[in-house]
Symmetry: C2
Subunit: 407 residues, 2 copies
Amino acid sequence: MKNCIVAQSGGPTAAINASLAGVVQGVLEHPEYSHIYGSLNGITGILEGRFLDLTETFQSPEALGRLKVSPAMYLGSCRYKLPTPESDVSPYQAVFQFFEKMGIGAFFYIGGNDSMDTVDKLSTYAEKIQSNVRIIGIPKTIDNDLCATDHTPGFGSAAKYVATSLLEIYHDTVIYHLKSVTIVEIMGRDAGWLTAASALARNSYSVAPHLIYLPETAFDAEAFLADVKSLLEKHNNIIVAVSEGIRDKDGNYISASTGSKDNFGHSQLSGAGKTLECLVQERLDVKVRAIELNILQRCGSHIASRTDLEESFCQGQHGVSLAAKGETGLMVTIQRVQEEPYQVSYGASPVREIANQVKSVPPEFIHPKGNDVSPAMLSYLKPLIQGEPALTFSQGIPCYLPVPHLS
Amino acid sequence: MKNCIVAQSGGPTAAINASLAGVVQGVLEHPEYSHIYGSLNGITGILEGRFLDLTETFQSPEALGRLKVSPAMYLGSCRYKLPTPESDVSPYQAVFQFFEKMGIGAFFYIGGNDSMDTVDKLSTYAEKIQSNVRIIGIPKTIDNDLCATDHTPGFGSAAKYVATSLLEIYHDTVIYHLKSVTIVEIMGRDAGWLTAASALARNSYSVAPHLIYLPETAFDAEAFLADVKSLLEKHNNIIVAVSEGIRDKDGNYISASTGSKDNFGHSQLSGAGKTLECLVQERLDVKVRAIELNILQRCGSHIASRTDLEESFCQGQHGVSLAAKGETGLMVTIQRVQEEPYQVSYGASPVREIANQVKSVPPEFIHPKGNDVSPAMLSYLKPLIQGEPALTFSQGIPCYLPVPHLS
């Protein structure tokens, strides 16, 4: 019998532990697998020999259930970019020596775009050295920007957090009998999916957010000011949802860029909301406030989407069954079978076709004026935020699973 | 039979509608009262003749129940400062003419410090003109800084939001295998109660926030840097909770003050967190990020404290029974009868002794080093965040009561 190992990578989401729970459950259920190990801090745990045996820990349904609703990464994360084997083969040798030593039959990597790049490189290398270890990617990202899949685990929960917060911000801002503009900055460097989810706050009595700007449309400051001005004639309190990654027609970020870059060469941004706040302050005579939803939108598990958690769990399980069937170099995908009632199925796509690609919001999901989403976007988003997590509370705060010591 | 009128004022909380529901329920139950009116946008609705008849609307327990869990002010708010009658008697005349015309026997004003100033002035004027209209204040403020009462409606819910968010931020920041400092800025201009509530995030596996700074203690930047540096030797990821109102030993705000002031002469602050972020960036070689919890900490009803909502409702009801007994010029108070099991009783205090006073955090609730709270503070805070609200969800977002058209 072979063992399995699983790791988590990239930025946190509220559902990445649900996928981990799915992998663990899948391995425990599969007769051909014995132990399930967890590498700490992504693949760096394998490289440095830091890992846990999860087999015993999650025999208890209570522990597995609590893992499913806990935010961020139980196993920790990393931002490690695997070099190409041509430039440095040593990490590849170390990984496959570890696999050999631990009797590993399958490695599951739960992560976003950059993690899928790692899955691609490792599975290609495995083929080259004729290793039988199966390498499977389980997607996750609040950005919803992975190709080949209808949506990504973690997105629905972040979308629910954003929609709920926007509704509460509406209630908060509508109370004063004076004109005001509130700008809410939402995560999404290159793709506007999460910012679009702010539209889910609209209901029978509120049309807020009144304006929505995604990075997929060139941002025109004058058009924005004209939109705000015209809306202020009809409404007292305007709410604007804006992606952190909005750019002008020349591709320059509408933000005070800090100039620093992460390991993958992404620019570290901050300030699209603040920049628009200053613009409104300068040009329109009206009270204005910028709000950054910040990291709470990705780790706010107390308002996670149950649909997202269930689907994330199933995608973890599905990854295990793919490996058991001998598949490798694949990322688990989700297909929308029908809209109403909402129904999905799970599949897989070669990770090579997914890694380092970005799924942007398509034009038909954006209002032609570029300042809102389309009805098609709302239909797409709605099923993803349904249902609330099965949380327990202790001493007034949510009961999450304690994070193991990661260093 | 007399009628009653109620209004809400100041900044939003998650529990100010629970107090409104309590007032409405109290009036509906009291045989000597007939209609309950709601003045829109605080007392300005009375001055401008903008009000609603709530009597029919809230006969339904379903509507009253939904009002109880909805954030911010159903009736809207204002930041209107009543002049002294000596400087301008006309608003007083307008208010009492309105009371006369509408057959008002009691006016309930739900609000914070500044609203209690209005209750004081109106009840004093009523006495002077020998009016029988009873004027009663129902407290609310997330700042918990009103005197004569154990704690204020709205505080427990904001405290639960802060504690839950801090726990989730802990899970989010602990995942990377590198040194980091996360600074969380929490509301509280003059009183540190809400920032202190961040300590409720601590549990069996997390001691975060590692440092807590309240405005009651002079902030020493060098001592702060030394504390962070020393903690980084033991922990990878340090979380610092800091009040927006922290000041140095000379009383200068540790923030980039915008210089603007509101109607009551309060300085508009922003940036204590950002200021400390820059300080850490400059002086310590470590990843640092500032997070502002912003207005979501006061309007995040989806994670309100059920204890807070219940007590706020009871304080509204209690206000009605005080007026019915002929009392006036009082603010409803809450007393802690015993700690375990937690038990409270409702009372009242002359509003004159409360208005324009601030209840700061006493020294025995602060750690002698000034960088944390004491065990006594934790015992005080714990009961206030217990229990979750009885929410319903529609289409994945909370079902709140639609806000009436306020203009």
